[in-house]
Amino acid sequence: HRIDRLEIYGFKSFCEKTDIVLNGEVTAIVGPNGCGKSNVADAINWVLGEQSTKTLRAGRMEDVIFNGTQKRKALGVAEVTLTLREFANGASLPADFPSENGEVTVSRRLYRSGESEYFLNQRRCRLKDVYEFFEGTGLGSTSYALIEQGRIEVILGSKPQDRRALIEEAA
């Protein structure tokens, strides 16, 4: 399977609906400090089911919703949609979420009330369904696929037991 594109709306500094095509072999994201590049990484992590606020650089999960600037009011909901392609083996996608033209979309929404919603191919589903789907596509283990900013600097300085934990987690 391949990642095809990412849509971000209301997530962190992306208060305007934003589309990024990601299906190249190598895609580079560039720009000045603080402009939102790592927020794109957080959006991918989040739509794939990340639940740790620390990893998402947030105090509480609600902090990932656009919280306003001096000129703009805060938004009430954050939504990220990931589209996957070339979904050859449809085995891991339940019949309730039919896919057209080999494309699968996964969406996650968070309201300020704290309520979360998940969608597969635009049909409402449970977080459990999203996880099961990912297990089938190899996206379940994306904890090794996202190397966040600053991780390279600290991964070796860890103690012998921390390094062991790294290996144990992958086992």
Binding site: V26, A28, Y144, R163
Partner: protein
């Protein structure tokens, strides 16, 4: 189980060693169990020898050398538990030009089976991307994305 740990350890170690030699253009490295007899609890140390230098504990290497070793390890774990994509956020920040070239060459090799998404400030890294997105904040606090390059 200790068998599963040992198998995982050996597989990742193998990837780690191969990636190290690719990223350093030579040399050798290894993860070692501090206590070979205690598979259940033993911590792990890492020793490395950049080309022409002495084998020593990785903590004695330079900033850029450590970053390269860390990258070899994290990508070694990724190869053991692969995903369709791999996102790297500013991993090239401590690297000099020669090491950035080795890094991008490695991406070219791994890119056959993996989509890479790179966040970077480095011009040499940008050059190997097929798609280039610029994130801007013309209005303070509001991110917008502009696609800069298509191939």
């Amino acid at each position: 189980s200790t068998e599963q740990f040992k198998e995982t350890f050996d597989a990742i170690n193998q990837n780690f060693k191969e990636l190290f030699t690719l990223l350093f253009g030579g040399g050798q490295c290894e993860m070692r169990l501090l206590d070979e007899t205690d598979l259940l609890e033993s911590g792990i140390e890492i020793i490395a020898q950049p080309p022409g230098k002495r084998l020593q504990n990785v903590m004695l290497l330079s900033g850029g050398e450590k970053a390269l070793v860390a990258l070899a390890l994290l990508l070694g774990i990724f190869k053991f538990r692969p995903s369709p994509f791999c996102l790297l956020d500013e991993v090239d920040a401590p690297l000099d030009d020669a090491n950035v070239s080795r890094f991008t060459r490695l991406l070219g090799v791994m890119g056959k089976n993996t989509q890479f998404i790179l966040i970077t400030h480095n011009k040499k890294t940008m050059e190997v991307a097929q798609y280039l997105y610029g994130v801007t904040m013309q209005e303070a606090g509001v991110s917008k994305i502009v696609s800069v390059k298509f191939e």
